[in-house]
Symmetry: C2
Subunit: 284 residues, 2 copies
Amino acid sequence: MYDSIIIGMGPAGISCATYLKRYGLNVLVIGKDLGALELAKEIENFYGMGKISGHDLALKGIKEAMSLGINICHDEVINIDYLANGFNILTKKNNYDAKTIVLATGKVRNGFTLAKNFEGKGVSYCATCDGFFYRKKEIAIIGYNSYMLHELNVLLPLVKKITVFTNNNELEVELPANVEVVKDKITSFKGNDMLEQIICGDKTYNVEGCFIALGSQNAFTLAKHLGLDIKNNNLVVNDNYMTNIPGIFACGDVIGGMLQVAKAVSDGAICANNLNNYIRELKK
Amino acid sequence: MYDSIIIGMGPAGISCATYLKRYGLNVLVIGKDLGALELAKEIENFYGMGKISGHDLALKGIKEAMSLGINICHDEVINIDYLANGFNILTKKNNYDAKTIVLATGKVRNGFTLAKNFEGKGVSYCATCDGFFYRKKEIAIIGYNSYMLHELNVLLPLVKKITVFTNNNELEVELPANVEVVKDKITSFKGNDMLEQIICGDKTYNVEGCFIALGSQNAFTLAKHLGLDIKNNNLVVNDNYMTNIPGIFACGDVIGGMLQVAKAVSDGAICANNLNNYIRELKK
């Protein structure tokens, strides 16, 4: 069991992992891409770094962390479950247990914009949390990959019928035999107060609910799964960089403030310091 | 008149200056040495930097800031005075006006430890602030350089007699004719409640007060001069990194927290962001 698994391999995640490693903790970083840094063509306001592209800086950070002996997996988180003494993290390639989690996933993005008006009114982002409310109903799930399949398998035993909407994405997984697939692009959601219909161009599908598991888990969907507080599109943390769930920390852009490498790196360091204290208390 | 003068050329000061420059402000950095970084033999937990000595990192930061067109003076602050619309900064080599000041001087050190028990009881760190209380008295001033001379010149018109104690340092400045000098090392301060005697080995000097202007202005003495709040040996700042005096900001080790490059660099960036907003409001 890892002392901590850090989700995200940008400046916040790598900085946090580096400090945790230095504190003698057993850590793993899981990252799916280079995040916002990938978009920064040139950075020249990060102390001591001169001019560097975001891409190169991100790779430099990862490479140096690996040279310090930090394990970094290029992988994607599909689900996080609570254990009695920590968390289980299911990824595309593997399965890990950890006493603590650090969410350093980058800026919280919105959910599926088209469905915004029906969030909590028939639209959900977490099968484990909300599946029960749709027992014996005919529902939809939007997605196309292993993250969607995980959510689908949670829902299948509960619901009467479930249709997969790939929203024009290539289906990446094999579905159970009894599941229908709609491959068209979704154009709108309709309903009086509660969601009633999913519209794909000139086709209309009646539904009693819809789960969104599109693309990959991100800060928004992870927060929904874990029951984390979100405010103004930022994960809410206390002075110790811990979320409302004990053992789940967050740092970097995901908690808001200045969206700068400098701030993310500092967040990572301070978060690590507090997480180390938390782990030491657990071990007492 | 500068928009801002940053005192300190370590990670916090340079990061702050870099951001201010990017915001289009007219800034100057004044630094007297490389501060705490000079003592760090090897740093390997600052994101993206690999292994580097504190000395090399500090020089790298300064060099890169200069390449962005930031003015950096290797100089020493002797005094800061309030102006109607800002501040006047007197240095060893020059004299500057600025609308705002950023104190990025590194960790607040204690005052003169030997005199600790008599602070506010006959021992003062600011001639401008407290000189008036020693009118027509026979007092001492401890120091040996231009910073001491500045304080001495403030006190001379007020007091009856003043003796310079160099505390075994080489006197670096020429003193007015009527000033006596004691070159011995100070061994203790004595008095019942209020300071009464300065002891140098087997010699005893009766005094009615003592000003300390030893070495160079540092965070502690600057804070005393400017009337800044100090708590637990840290300058007190609000969420905007501003001290209790409008227009005086602080960032890095001087405000406490984790004494790490990462945190100092982030402080500098966030402080700059808030200072920029402050300046823009002034210009309205």
